[in-house]
Symmetry: C2
Subunit: 282 residues, 2 copies
């Protein structure tokens, strides 16, 4: 692992790091905020998965998470959203909703994507193992996860697959049912192929229908979000959770759009909500 930069921020340290990923076969960059810690103290971890077109940098610059993380004593990790670099194929039309910046947190099985587009393995297995070995001040027995849009999809599906690893999951304007919306149909069709049955393990609503469970979910959604009706459809998650007995809090936020102005407004709330769960006796 290489340190790209570190800076003191809100009493802790905001770092950016890179490493050679086995999962993606590329150099991957991510950011970690470590809150102020007393000697010997270790911080629980909140993962944040970003949305389409983003890198680690968008939330690191604009997410306004550091003050709340410093106060709650929580570390904040932001991975990239796709492999990048020479030899990594992109959407043939250069579209922003597939390929670079749009890995969708799946392991592609279709060519030419299967070689590098392995963001599920990267975010779910490889990067957590790197964090354990490189950041001894983080307590990886206490982890939670959140994300925005495509990253909300990532957070929900990863939490549903690993209910024992994550104490809590939340999302900002998530894609909840990629198998039922245009962004998801394009991405899952491209990375996983035409057989829709293979998509269900990468679709939060389908996973819940098929028996996956978490205890509870917190979702914030702006009602002025241009993608709400066609791409996000949080009501599908609310209904699936209700049917499955999962406690789903879906807060419609009047006037908010899909941008970091929305995310940063509710970020501190999410950090505190996860903090309560990360610090509770289990």
């Amino acid at each position: 692992m290489k340190t790209v930069s570190t800076a003191r921020a809100h009493g802790g340290t905001q770092g950016v790091y890179s490493h050679e990923s086995t999962a993606t076969g590329t150099t991957m960059t991510f950011s970690v905020f470590v809150p102020p810690l007393d000697e010997g103290q270790r911080a629980p971890v909140l993962w944040y998965l970003s949305g389409l077109t983003c890198t680690h940098a968008n939330v690191t610059d604009k997410g306004e998470f550091r003050a709340a993380c410093a106060e709650a004593g929580i570390a904040f990790i932001a991975p990239d959203t796709s492999p990048r670099g020479e030899g990594v194929p992109d959407d043939p039309q250069g579209a922003w909703d597939f390929g670079l910046g749009a890995g969708f947190y799946v392991d592609a099985t279709e060519e030419p994507w299967a070689k590098h587009y392995r963001m599920r393995s990267y975010v779910e297995d490889e990067l957590p193992a790197l964090i354990v070995s490189e950041f001894p001040m983080l307590d990886c027995s206490r982890q939670s996860i959140t994300g925005h849009s495509m990253g909300g999809h990532g957070a929900l599906t990863i939490a549903l697959r690993n209910p024992d690893r994550f104490r809590s999951v939340s999302a900002f304007a998530p894609i909840v049912a990629p198998g039922q919306v245009p962004w998801g149909e394009k991405a899952l069709g491209g990375y996983l192929g035409d057989d829709r049955s293979a998509w269900r393990a990468a679709d939060a609503v389908a996973m819940i229908e098929d028996g996956a469970r978490v205890k509870e979910v917190l979702v914030d959604q702006g009602d002025a979000d241009n993608f709400l009706a066609e791409q996000l459809r949080p009501e599908l998650l609310a209904r699936a959770c209700a049917d499955a007995g999962i406690d789903c809090t879906l807060r419609m936020q009047p006037g908010y759009d899909h941008s970091y102005h929305f995310i940063s407004t509710f970020m501190a709330d999410h950090v505190r909500w996860h903090g309560e769960r990360l610090k509770a006796d289990r």
Copy 2:
């Protein structure tokens, strides 16, 4: 005035606007955050002047001011740092510390700068008048000012010139004595010419020595700031203030650098400090 974008944020509205400036002869862009207001309520105003290489966007994206401004009911205005566009000359070597992004909040008298580089008139006169006419929900009888680095220099000099207009002035890692440091010597020499006596009206320490007064100043400065010893030299301000009977609070912040990680850490403090003064009976 044209609205470039608006978005709901922290219960208020973050906007970006542009207009044709008479002072600079160019299109100028700025941002305004209006906090949540009750019917008929008006918000006092905090100006933020940015540092070298920045536009309105850096602090708007990374300043982390909105939560504190929303809570205190304060509007936040961020102008650009120089004229821009076709026909605006730049540093002949393309340096980042002169020309575009480096207007230094002075009205240039030297050619070829004198035509467009009129940032003192722009920030001190033209933009405030535009704000009064376009933002009736702002209470411009209550204004304060802050800034970073070159913008700290701007905030200090503008406040010293207009002690009745601004209730309070603070700065993050300001250039306090441009006439005594390399950045300032290059900028003031370039824009104002070789006669150093003409620089004194654009130099906070010299202005105080020459009799300009404010009641008090709050300055935060990181002690890991690469520019501290050569370019910033806040001890010169502290000494001038002590000699002049100005209450100067200079807080050296251990481990902090010159970046927005430093600014955003102490932004909420500055917003609250100005808020107390903006809301006090006068």
